[in-house]
């Protein structure tokens, strides 16, 4: 088994562009669930709207990068409002079912062939990142980073992705420590008490949904920009569940939690996957083939999610008193 390669791959996941994308989505979910107590199981929809919004604005409208980013953010904010108005009055478990249903319905709409001139149907969209990569100040070439090596494009998307993570984390830190953030936590702990103090609980929830959704849609953009392909099947329920696992791993009501949770999660995933692939090629796991190792990856996601919720719901960084599932 090639240990050096395995460690390389694992280290690559720590700073990968996909990791940054998931971390952004998890930060958004931390806003929804960790700080406001909303059981949002439709986070994939916000990311998908960011990605599709960007791609459609670029390809169909011919807008530049800034316009496309703004359009993606606008789409997800609009979705947050449209979804929030009817559903935020519902009990937490109803909210979970409705958000997951809305996300699936949206994905069906993206995948249908009826609008494939705009959405690309089941094949999705591709090659919409030219303007983004035009901003790349790094000259062409291969850049070694420790044992890893990146092209100028790979480096650029990683720099942008992780800068966005840093900015989002900072914004969330300031927001959650502001009076506004304290009201959110108040709503999470006891909605009626917050209402009794004269706070407009509904407005706060909508604001939280919009802000968290916008951060997630940035994540969606980073996700599709690294390969310049955006396919509807990416935004299935598994995407949402991965984000939940990352969030609960790090700690739901923390800022650092989603960041470290995401890095840990993907590094662990890559580590176990590489080791299992190594064992399979060495013939030590005769009942598995290489393709099945990728499937075990998702099995582990489910297992980690279960075990976390049962044994350590506050995650790595969380404070147990701060985690309320409201039920």
């Amino acid at each position: 088994m090639d240990w050096l390669n395995i460690l390389n791959l694992t280290g690559g996941e720590l700073i990968g562009a996909y990791t940054a994308a998931y971390v952004l989505c998890a930060l958004g979910l931390a806003m929804h669930f960790g700080f406001t107590g909303l059981l949002n199981f439709g986070q994939a929809a916000f990311a998908a709207l960011g990605a599709y919004g960007y791609a459609i604005a670029t390809l169909s409208f011919g807008w530049n990068m800034w316009g496309s980013v703004a359009f993606g953010l606008l789409c997800s904010a609009a979705f947050a409002v449209v979804l929030g108005i009817p559903t935020l009055r519902l009990r937490a478990d109803y909210l979970a079912i409705v958000t997951i249903a809305a996300a699936q319905a949206l994905r069906f709409a993206f995948a249908t062939s009826a609008y494939d001139e705009v959405t690309g149907g089941a094949n999705g969209l591709s090659q919409f990142g030219e303007d983004f990569y035009n901003y790349n100040p790094i000259p062409e070439g291969r850049y070694p980073l420790g044992a890893l090596e990146f092209s100028e494009k790979e480096l650029w998307i990683r720099i942008v992705g992780w800068s966005l993570v840093a900015i989002a984390a900072l914004v969330m830190l300031l927001l959650t420590r502001s009076p506004w953030g304290r009201v959110l936590k108040g709503i999470r702990e006891d909605e009626d008490a917050a209402r009794a103090l004269g706070k407009n609980v509904f407005a706060y929830k909508i604001q939280s949904l919009v802000i968290g959704g916008s951060i997630a849609s940035l994540g969606g953009m980073v996700f599709v920009m690294s390969s310049q392909t955006n396919q509807p099947q990416t935004w299935g329920t598994n995407f949402t569940f991965m984000i939940w696992t990352i969030l609960l791993l790090g700690g739901a009501a923390t800022i650092l939690g989603p960041v470290v949770g995401g890095m840990t999660f993907f590094a662990l995933l890559m580590f176990t996957q590489s080791i299992m692939e190594g064992l399979v090629t060495m013939g030590w796991l005769p009942f598995l083939d290489i393709a099945q190792v990728g499937q075990i990856r998702f099995l582990l996601v489910g297992l980690v999610l279960m075990l976390l919720v049962i044994f350590r719901p506050q995650g790595i960084f969380g404070n147990k008193k701060e985690l309320q599932f409201n039920g």
């Binding site: 059981l39 199981f41 009817p86 559903t87 009055r89 519902l90 009990r91 937490a92 478990d93 109803y94 979970a96 079912i97 409705v98 997951i100 249903a101 809305a102 699936q104 319905a105 069906f108 709409a109 995948a111 249908t112 062939s113 009826a114 329920t237 598994n238 569940f241 939940w244 696992t245 609960l248 598995l288 099945q292 499937q295 075990i296 998702f298 099995l299 996601v301 489910g302 297992l303 980690v304 999610l305 279960m306 075990l307 919720v309 049962i310 719901p313 599932f325 409201n326 039920g327």
Partner: protein, 429 residues
């Protein structure tokens, strides 16, 4: 003989054409520097004009892009090919005045088409002539067919939805791993019926027994300990999501990702305008009998009454001497058996793979929520509505969106009447 030779020659020609296409695909991107000789243009649009399976020669076809226009006439086999110099979306028009007398386009405006040469260097354009071969079904007949499918699908959903509803009613758990029990039922039906070659009834009973055992084990091994720890319901819901992922991927590892044909389609039965299969008919009857049985069980038997008491108020039920844990255990077994049966019937009618249950899980939740969480009758009504919405909506919207339609209905109902159609008024906000 000469006819045969020509045929073979044409085949060879097609083959050569394909080879040429492959080559040109491989070297696509090589600049088109040919002079203005149309026969050397790199891109081509082609087709064959057929009327009632007979070739139509001497029809004029014109391709246009911006200021570029060129025309050809079909040869004696009705074939035509236009070579064009650059990529783009060409407008291709058939000159209807050149068609033989009595031959018309199938659809009005069907003489104008387009060829998309933006991605490839070859595009085929088909024009359809003569009468439409698709027999038009009257709207009422179509509706009848759809309503029938909706009834059939709705009843299937109802059996599984009652399972969710019973479990939610007695334990308060929104079990996201319920879909996997549908899958398990269908796949074990496949194992017993197709794999082991058992009789269909024995196979069905075997599959239902497997799922019931799985339900019992799930409750004893996972949910009972969690209830003992007094875990919050929302936390348990997230555990069930994790459990469903694990179960789904275990099923994938064990059964593989291919779709299994379990029932083989059955024999076709005609009821007026509706063509259906004997499997579907039998399944419908079984569903109705089972639903009636569940209703009798819940209203007439001691255990059924105790189940409803636990649903109403577990503490009060315990105070009157009902063993709540025993009822919950029975409910898990009964609910799993029902869900497994739904999986068996679904698999027999529609085939199944590892994702089958997960695909309909949200429809089940929609059904249960629509009818009012926690009531068995509500789940049945909700499931029938969802089944109808799914099938009837596909008359008006693209087929891929029919599940989305059901989910939109769910969202709308929750806005208008959050407690569901038959649900008790309670605080859910």
């Amino acid at each position: 003989m000469s006819q045969l030779n020509i045929r073979m020659g044409r085949k060879a020609g097609v083959f050569l054409g394909l080879v040429a296409m492959l080559f040109s695909l491989l070297f696509a991107g090589a600049p088109a520097h040919a002079a203005d000789d149309p026969s050397t243009y790199p891109y081509s649009i082609a087709g064959t004009i057929l009327n009632d399976d007979k070739e139509v020669p001497d029809v004029k076809i014109t391709a246009t892009l911006d200021d570029f226009t060129t025309s050809v006439v079909t040869n004696e086999w009705g074939e035509w090919e236009i070579r064009v110099p650059k990529q783009g979306i060409y407008k291709v028009e058939l000159d209807v005045t050149t068609l033989p007398a009595g031959v018309t386009m199938t659809d009005k405006g069907g003489e104008v088409s387009e060829a998309d040469l933006t991605q490839t260097d070859f595009a085929a354009v088909l024009f359809s002539l003569g009468k439409s071969t698709v027999q038009a079904q009257s709207f009422s007949d179509q509706l009848l067919v759809r309503v029938w499918s909706g009834l059939n699908f709705g009843l299937l959903l109802a059996i599984a939805a009652i399972g969710i509803s019973l479990i939610f009613g007695t334990t308060g758990l929104n079990n996201f791993a319920h879909g996997e029990m549908v899958t398990l039922g269908a796949l074990f039906m496949w194992v017993f019926y197709q794999g082991l070659g058992q009789n269909i009834i024995v196979s069905a009973l075997g599959a239902v027994a497997v799922v019931a055992a799985f339900g019992w084990a799930q409750d004893a091994g996972l949910w009972k300990p969690l209830r003992k720890r007094r875990m919050g319901l929302n936390q348990m819901m997230i555990v069930s999501i994790g459990f469903s992922i694990v179960a789904r991927y275990v099923l994938l590892l064990v059964f593989g990702g291919d779709t299994k044909d379990i029932g083989g389609g059955g024999n076709i039965v005609q009821l007026g305008p509706i063509y259906t299969s004997d499997i579907a008919l039998v399944s419908l009857v079984i569903c109705v009998i089972i639903l009636a049985g569940v209703a009798l069980f819940l209203t007439r038997t001691r255990i059924g009454k105790a189940t409803r008491a636990v649903s109403d108020n577990p503490s009060l039920a315990a105070a009157t001497g009902i063993d709540v844990e025993r009822i919950v255990r029975i409910v898990w077994i009964v609910a799993s058996a029902l869900t497994g049966l739904a999986g068996v019937l679904y698999g027999l009618q529609f085939q199944a793979n590892w994702l089958t249950g997960f695909d309909i899980l949200l429809l089940l939740f929609a059904a249960v929520t629509l009818g009012g969480l926690g009531t068995a009758l509500g789940a049945t009504v909700g499931a029938l509505i969802i089944g109808m919405v799914v099938e009837v909506s596909s008359m008006f919207i693209p087929n891929e969106l029919k599940y989305a339609a059901a989910l939109v209905v769910l969202i709308v109902i929750l806005i208008v009447r959050p407690q569901g159609v038959l649900g008790k008024k309670q605080r859910i906000g």
